[in-house]
Subunit: 231 residues, 2 copies
DNA sequence: TTTTATAATTGATCCATATCATTTGAATAT
DNA sequence: ATATTCAAATGATATGGATCAATTATAAAA
């Protein structure tokens, strides 16, 4: 974990997440005092479930995952996140605890922001608050679809959903380097790693995808969407 | 559906949900102009998924469910809600569409509030906004646990969870009248009605619960919690 | 290079849960 | 009281995925 105070300040930052674009210059200068910039290596934990939630994270670059784990160390990947994006643990308005773990899947550039500074801006700038509410709302809606997917679709549909999400929401391209292991794909789709492996082999045999090492390309996007929709 | 403009106004209302308790008198008088009170009968739809989200609902009394349905009419019960509680479709900050259906499970007394009036208060009263954010946050946290439950626990654990939620969060008593059919319990737990039926019979045979018609009593709360925790 | 550890693949088997089919029960209407 | 409808219970069977086990790749370390 390399701590580099970025030269510039928030005012000039061109990797601001949407909410921060709603802030006034003076507010950006204010928040600039309460943040520091860190680069995480692949695999590093940014914050850990069940620890005190003292920061919000503005990811400027890279891909990360949020995971929920129980006492038996069974994991569930809640979401995949691509910078620029603001990651706020909901616990900051509930019990001041992180309710999931945030982990870098690639190198991640992020600003660690003091939670009190964040909350102050939420109270003082209603544009900012509204944008934050809007982002929470988008996630809530995604959650409905995701819960539905995990409970009502079977293997093929779930893996298709995962691949489509990676392609469309994270990498914006049909071809990408898979940032998740088979184990993690399992934790994301609610399957075992063996099942994920089998489905991917099946997809490849059916000419739906191409796999070259860790590079995956969706060859037939329409078919993939159909599989996702039909569960 | 009986439309009765309640005699009193919001200022005097003793069934306010938490967020409204944060409003000033003048704000309560303001919102009072943009709401009307309705009583729904059991089974009636309060608002329907995919229709324009023009209101937020303040449930003062009764129990309701939110359901998410796909194009094949497969349903998932997202949550159970007990008054007093504010139900806001997240779509009001995204695409002005309801993303789930809200249905009365018992007789429900509710105030239908204009969404623009609600949004105005969110912008103008940061206590109100903060309380709303806090409630969204609680739901987000519950969602993690629920998604985990539905993907990682098996039948007994899921049904135990459902019964515990009804007992602890909805009725605040070990004995209650089951507001859900077996089919609905299935839609809530991600199981078929047949499986739910079998599990309940098993629970009764094991002296975990008592069933008298539609009345269910949890006889062994500790055991039920253990089953929930061990999946 | 060889060793070691970790991830991925693949096959064989088992089991949890869905599906299908029938019966029973309860509520509502005739 | 009888018919009708819908919810619930229960048994028999099928199957989607998990689990277990073995093999092969891949990558890091000695």
């Amino acid at each position: 974990m390399i701590n580099i105070h970025q030269n510039g300040n928030c005012l000039e930052c061109d990797k601001k997440c949407s909410a921060f674009k709603r802030l006034l210059s003076e507010e950006l200068n204010y928040i600039n005092q309460y943040r520091f910039h860190i680069t995480y290596k692949k695999g590093e934990v940014i914050f850990k479930q069940n620890t005190p939630a003292s920061n919000v994270i503005s990811i400027s670059r890279g891909v990360a995952k949020t995971t929920f784990e129980d006492k038996f160390n069974k994991n569930l990947i809640l979401s995949l996140i691509k910078g620029p994006s603001l990651v706020v643990g909901p616990g900051i308005y509930v019990d001041n605890i992180y309710h999931f773990t945030l982990t870098a899947l690639t190198e991640v550039h992020a600003c660690i922001i003091d939670v009190l500074a964040f909350k102050k801006l939420i109270r003082e700038n209603s544009d900012f608050a509204e944008q934050y509410i809007s982002e929470m709302s988008v996630r809530a809606i995604r959650n409905y679809q995701r819960t539905f997917c995990l409970t009502h679709k079977q293997m093929h549909g779930r893996v298709a959903d995962a691949l489509l999400n990676l392609s469309q929401n994270i990498f914006n391209a049909p071809e990408f380097e898979m940032p998740l292991t088979r184990q993690e794909l399992g934790e994301y789709t609610g399957l075992t790693k063996e099942s994920v492996s089998r489905i991917l082999t099946k997809f490849r045999d059916d000419q739906l995808i191409q796999m070259d090492g860790n590079i995956i390309e969706i060859l037939n996007m329409d078919k993939m969407i159909t599989i996702s929709e039909n569960g």
